[in-house]
Amino acid sequence: EPEVTQTPSHQVTQMGQEVILRCVPISNHLYFYWYRQILGQKVEFLVSFYNNEISEKSEIFDDQFSVERPDGSNFTLKIRSTKLEDSAMYFCASTPPGHSTNNEQFFGPGTRLTVL
């Protein structure tokens, strides 16, 4: 069964450094998402991406964040200058073609980002 994959599983970085979190969505999916989950808290929407552009972003997704689909298979989340409060589990998700609201999102296993 196809699944969303994410690398690395755990990323440790120093405050102020740039990180890139990578995701490979399911191959025929067209809608892509990033969510984050701070330890012990709820899962929060960051950004949705469709047709090579951002569809929507939350207030969390400020100028320090960017997303890219560089090669038709990968979907990346970049944090330009990490802060301590960026420490969280980051989940990538994708949805197949069709009505984007009806279809469930398929989530990757997550990348745990630790900012020191």
Binding site: V4, Y31, Y33, Y35, Q41, K42, V43, E44, F45, S48, F49, Y50, N51, S55, E56, F91, A93, T95, S100, T101, N102, E104, Q105, F106, F107, G108, P109, G110
Partner: protein, 117 residues
């Protein structure tokens, strides 16, 4: 604003007993409701969804959920709990803002289900 509420942080049930994990929602328009489960150190796994039709929807691992429009609830249920059901459960509402091509999920705060042998 679209939101979901899970009033219980933790639910404890003995194995073999029925379980219920509660969820209420607040949406404008038709609700698109989902349940996801998260096992330790794992991602979110889809359990079931309500889009339209029968109020009782069946999902993975023997779970089901009942959509109740008058009570704006979407409680998750299982007739007989297993120890392996112990996990974190998230209720979610999905909607697509009119200006957006894609939709997004708003998650509840999660309920930790603990099944004792």
């Amino acid at each position: 604003a679209q939101s979901v509420a899970q009033p219980e942080d933790q639910v404890n049930v003995a194995e073999g007993n029925p379980l219920t994990v509660k969820c209420t929602y607040s949406v404008s328009g038709n609700p698109y409701l989902f349940w996801y489960v998260q096992y330790p150190n794992r991602g979110l796994q889809f359990l079931l969804k309500y889009i339209t039709g029968d109020n009782l929807v069946k999902g993975s691992y023997g779970f089901e959920a009942e959509f109740n429009k008058s009570q704006t609830s979407f409680h998750l249920k299982k007739p007989s709990a297993l120890v392996s059901d112990s996990a974190l459960y998230f209720c979610a509402v999905r909607f697509r803002p009119g200006y957006s091509s894609a939709s997004k999920i708003i998650f509840g705060s999660g309920t930790r289900l603990s099944i004792r042998p």
